[in-house]
């Protein structure tokens, strides 16, 4: 009789394992079917709605973000299983520093804990061979978080299978501003280094002068190579949870031609069906967009 509760527990554990295996198998079958069409190379997520989720479920402060982290791990697993090579997430915006100090501090503590956990052997980083980048104005972070981030970047620098870009203390306008500054500095240094030659204005020299003037001007490629996000191609799809339809200063430069999705689900509620739906929509417009890219 005393063995009965133990037996029931073991049975439950066994059933759960079986169900997990069935779901996993079904998911892999689904991914095989989806992979018959084009798969996006780069997916970006704005993880919005954690706090609203906590309020909705009557949880304490901070639990929403923890639930959000679990949802993130699940989404990363699905993305990498599907063969998506780059995933970018909006973890913390420069604007978020304007929130209450207690909330900012608890978010920083949570991020420190999770960043450190990426280095553990059982973490998703090792499971999928993820190279991790931290993109943003890292100088705005406290020393501990910044040090942990740099440690993770260094430790994963040799990984090459898939890439995770974590935007932290990030704003797109700040990223563009830094790129503009660097472009200005580089161009001015180049001009000084090449020196100035005085020409007589003969016909051939006028043409040479025009070319020289053109080279002196900053080009689009100068700005782009100075962007922090230049380590990855542009996102094919940007998914923002919680139903808000705005970019909130995230990847403005890179999402010019990205498909934008705004499922109503709050971030901790995001699931496989939202990802699949986004990819199916992407596949519909893909061939047309590829044709236009070639024309351009």
């Amino acid at each position: 009789m005393a063995e009965l509760p133990g037996q029931i527990q073991r049975m439950n554990g066994g059933i759960n394992q079986l169900l997990e295996q069935i779901f996993g198998f079904s998911r892999r079958c689904l991914f095989r079917v989806i992979s018959m069409g084009p798969i996006p190379n780069h997916l970006a997520f704005i993880m919005d709605g954690n706090r609203r989720y906590a309020k909705k479920c009557g949880l304490e402060e901070g639990s929403g973000h923890k639930a959000g982290f679990s949802a993130l791990m699940l989404m990363l697993q699905y993305c990498y299983e599907l063969g998506i090579q780059y995933v970018t997430i909006y973890a913390f915006s420069i604007d978020n520093f304007r929130r209450q100090p207690e909330e900012v501090q608890s978010l920083m503590d949570l991020m420190l804990e999770k960043i450190k956990s990426l280095l553990e052997k059982e973490s998703i980083v090792h499971q999928y061979g993820i190279r991790v980048y931290f993109i943003g104005n890292l100088a705005l972070l406290n020393d501990q978080v910044r040090a942990a981030a740099e440690k993770v970047m260094k430790a994963t620098a040799k990984n090459s299978r898939v890439v995770l870009l974590i935007c932290i203390a990030y704003n797109s306008t700040d990223e563009i501003l830094q790129a503009v500054k660097k472009s200005c500095i580089n161009k001015l240094d180049n001009i000084e280094a090449s020196g100035s030659c005085k020409h007589e204005d003969t016909d051939s020299d006028i043409e040479a002068k025009d070319m020289e003037n053109q080279e002196k001007k900053i080009q689009l490629v100068d700005i782009e190579e100075n962007m922090q996000m230049s380590v990855a191609p542009n996102p094919d799809i940007l998914i923002r949870s919680s139903g808000e339809t705005r970019l909130s200063n995230f990847l403005l430069w890179q999402t010019g031609n990205s498909q934008l999705c705004s499922p109503a689900a709050l971030w901790p509620e995001i699931g496989l069906r939202h990802l699949v739906w986004a990819i199916l929509n992407f596949q519909r417009s893909h061939s047309y967009l590829e044709k236009r890219k070639k024309q351009l």
């Binding site: 706090r51 915006s93 420069i94 604007d95 978020n96 304007r98 929130r99 209450q100 909330e103 704003n171 797109s172 306008t173 700040d174 563009i176 501003l177 503009v180 500054k181 472009s183 200005c184 500095i185 161009k187 001015l188 001009i191 001007k217 900053i218 689009l220 700005i223 139903g243 808000e244 339809t245 705005r246 970019l247 909130s248 200063n249 403005l252 430069w253 999402t255 010019g256 031609n257 990205s258 498909q259 934008l260 999705c261 705004s262 499922p263 109503a264 689900a265 509620e269 069906r273 939202h274 739906w277 986004a278 929509n281 519909r284 417009s285 061939s287 047309y288 236009r292 024309q295 351009l296």
Partner: protein, 305 residues
Amino acid sequence: MLSLRVPTPTSFRRLHAGRSRLSRDCLFSYSPSFVNRGVRLRVRSTKSEVALTPAEEEEEVTLPEELQPELMPKHVAIIMDGNGRWAKNQGLQPWDGHRAGVEALKEIVELSGRWGIQVLTVFAFSTDNWIRPRIEIDFLFSLFERSLKSEFQNLAKNDVRISIIGDSSKLPKSLLRLINEVEEGTKNNTRLQLIVAVGYSGKYDVLQACRGIAQRVKDGEIDVDEIDEGLIEQELETNCTEFPYPDLLIRTSGELRVSNFLLWQLAYTELFFAQELWPDFGRSGYVEALMSFQQRQRRFGGRKS
């Protein structure tokens, strides 16, 4: 904006004027307020199908009852997509679609002026559109010229100021002359500023701002350390207006992309994707977009306590 063809456009949030049914969204949760909005719209569009009496027409001039005056956006941006598809659906030529697009724009400009919107920016021609057939591009520019000439008096009468932004180096000289005339002639008008983006892209705008800043640094006017977001904002082509950042961006024809329009300026803009093609957009589509905007909670990265 010249229409971008996609075989079967679809979206997460299909917003049909006059229909409350949400196709495919049954898989996902949606806010109840959205359904109510759809029902209200259905009533509204039924009303507009009936011929209006002069008294009702008078009422139409003021703000529709669904919209609250204190929540109206100051700056609305529109990507006018779908002219080509509209023409194809009607069995017409692409240029007929663009002509219909101009008529739709006139209606939206008039409504914006009446409803207290201060700036309306429209994406007429992108840098990416230069790949279109030459005949279509030539037609577009001549249509633009004709429309500007014919509407000039109207604009002056309605106190509308016109500004053109974008790379004008490839535009025909006659059009450039006309643009200068119209900009000069309407520069003191204050009711509504209509900004038409021609030969424009968000990246081009940031690039030209960057070049302007680099020149100022080279001339010793400013130091590199003084370059900040405010300085970039001053150099962008939207410096022609007091409100350079749109509150609301509307894109018609169901495409879910920004397509390189107003890149920097869209940082906190609410986006609205309408299913209708641009020539069909009209008053009801505009009201729906503005209603959606008025229900949004804008936090700018902070928290609403």
